[in-house]
Each structure stands twice: as C-alpha cells, then as structure tokens.
Amino acid sequence: MDWGNFFAMGGYAAFVWPSYGIAALLLAINAIVPWRRERALRARLRDRQPGARS
C-alpha cells in the first residue's frame, strides 16, 4: 500500500492525525497514572507495616 497516501488522509491529515494522537495520549495517561499511583500506595503501605525496613 502507499504509505504517503495513507498519511496524507486525502488532504485531511492535519485534522485526522491530531484527533487520533490526542485520544491516544490522553487515554494512555489516564491508564498509566492510576496504575502507578496504586503501586506507590501499596509500597507506602508496605513500608508502614511493623517490621518493615526503614
């Protein structure tokens, strides 16, 4: 297939790709942030337990 044609999106590249880009970016951030927050929360809880290394 012709990739140049594909990325040109019939002249609408400046509208189509930013739409997909912003969706991908925001959905990725929204998934990664809580995932990391839970890991941090559990790590903090672990350290707070009696017998935890300080």
Partner: protein, 249 residues
C-alpha cells in the same frame, strides 16, 4: 436465591481482590478491540463519498461522546446506591469514574472541533450540542473539585452524589439537542430506532472502537477504584494484611 456474592461486592476487601483479578482481562480486551477497531477504521473502511477521509475522526469522536454521557449516567446510578444504602464501594466507583468522564468529554470536544474545521469551516460554534457537551465537561470538573474540597470522604461522596443526580438533567439535553434546536451538528445516524443510516463497513469499526472504549473504561475504573479504596481503608486490618502478605511473597 443466593445473593451473597452480590453483597460481598459491597465489602471493600472483597471488591479489591475481585478488581485485582478482573482488571488485566479488561485491559487485554481493550487492547485487542482497539487494535481491531483501528485496523478496520483506518485501513479497511472506505472513504466517505461526501467527507472523504476526514470522516475517520468519527471512530474516536463518537465513542468518546458516547462514553462522556455513559460515564455520567454510571456516576448517577452509583449516586443512588450511595445515597440510599450508604455503601463505601460505590462511593469509590463514582469518584473513580469522574476523571475518566472528564477525559472522554474533553476528547469528544477536541476531536469534534478538529472535525468541525474542515467540514463546517469553524472549530467552534455556540450551538446546542456543543454547548451542552461543554457544560458536561464543567460538571465533571465541578464534581472533581467538590471531592477535593471536602475533607471527609463520606461527606464528599454524598455531596458528589447529589451533584451527579442534578447533573443528570444535562444528559437528555445533550442527546436531543440535535432534534430540539437547529444546530450545525448532524442528527443521530446510529442510535436511531428504525434503521441506522450508516453502512456496515463504517459501522463495524465504529462498533469495535465503542466496545474498546467501554473495556478501557472498565479496566481503568477498576484500578482507580482500587486506589480510592486503599486510600479510604488505610489503617484497616485487611489493608495491613494485604501489605504484609506482599512483603512475604
């Protein structure tokens, strides 16, 4: 009838364990559906005879817009449970859904704007559909701010539940705005009761993307709810066990 499993869902400890087991499956499902939907939407579906390639924005715009409304309805449903039965898990779920709803709403507005420019000649118009969707974004932001402003988690949840129910009035306004008022926005093509006026070649990627957004919502909602439960239950015995259990592993 055995409703014990259902009652157990209301217990933070049980819900946490269940959510821990379920979220990877929904994340995997979302990944597969996104891959299939993007493939179908970008490579398989033909260009539109009027809008050319620009209509492909629809495959992110429409699922975002649907989810922006679905998420508020979900929060309102949780709000009823919160106000009537005062259970903690739905409080956490309602709070966990708000940032997701705000994201979907923002995406619907942003992608709609990027679609509007080439098709209508403007990024923004103060018409009924666009304005009511913008109000939905403010409702989400208001809900999030309200949760942050009230120190006591349970009181914050009740206040948020009332906002979720009052804000529900905006959902039918968004949905019917294209019929009640003259607007630039086109009428519904998929959610019509008789015959959807969309071809299957374009409908299939749209359906796949909509399901992908839904699976994504569930996966992230479960993780966010777990965070909220952990924060609310810090210091309780089961969270301690969870922490020590992980230490010895």
């Amino acid at each position: 009838m055995d409703f014990v499993w259902f009652h157990k869902l209301g217990v933070p400890r049980h819900f946490y364990r269940l959510a821990l087991r379920l979220s990877p499956w929904f994340a995997a499902l979302a990944a597969v559906l996104f891959a299939a939907g993007l493939w179908q939407g970008l490579f398989v579906a033909p260009p539109d005879y009027q809008q050319g390639e620009s209509y492909r924005i629809m495959f992110v715009h429409v699922p975002s817009a649907w989810m922006s409304m679905f998420t508020w309805v979900f929060m309102a449903a949780m709000a009823v449970v919160v106000l009537v039965w005062r259970i903690k898990v739905p409080e956490s779920m309602m709070r966990a859904a708000a940032p997701l709803g705000a994201t979907f709403t923002f995406l619907a507005l942003a992608t709609g704007s990027l679609w509007g420019k080439p098709m209508w000649g403007t990024y923004w118009q103060w018409d009924a559909r666009l304005t009511s969707e913008l109000i939905l974004l403010f409702l989400y932001l208001g809900f999030i701010a309200l949760q942050a402003a009230i120190e006591d988690r349970r009181a914050a949840a009740r206040a948020g539940a009332i906002l979720a129910l009052v804000g529900l009035i905006n959902i039918p306004i968004i949905h019917y705005s294209v019929e009640w008022w003259n607007t630039l926005h086109q009428g519904p093509t998929v959610t019509k009761f008789d015959q959807p006026s969309i071809t299957w070649e374009m409908g299939r990627p749209l359906l796949l993307m909509a399901l992908a957004f839904k699976a994504y919502f569930v996966a992230v909602l479960l993780v966010r709810t777990r965070c909220d439960i952990l924060e609310a239950e810090t210091g309780s015995a089961w969270v301690g066990e969870l922490a020590t259990g992980e230490r010895t592993r």
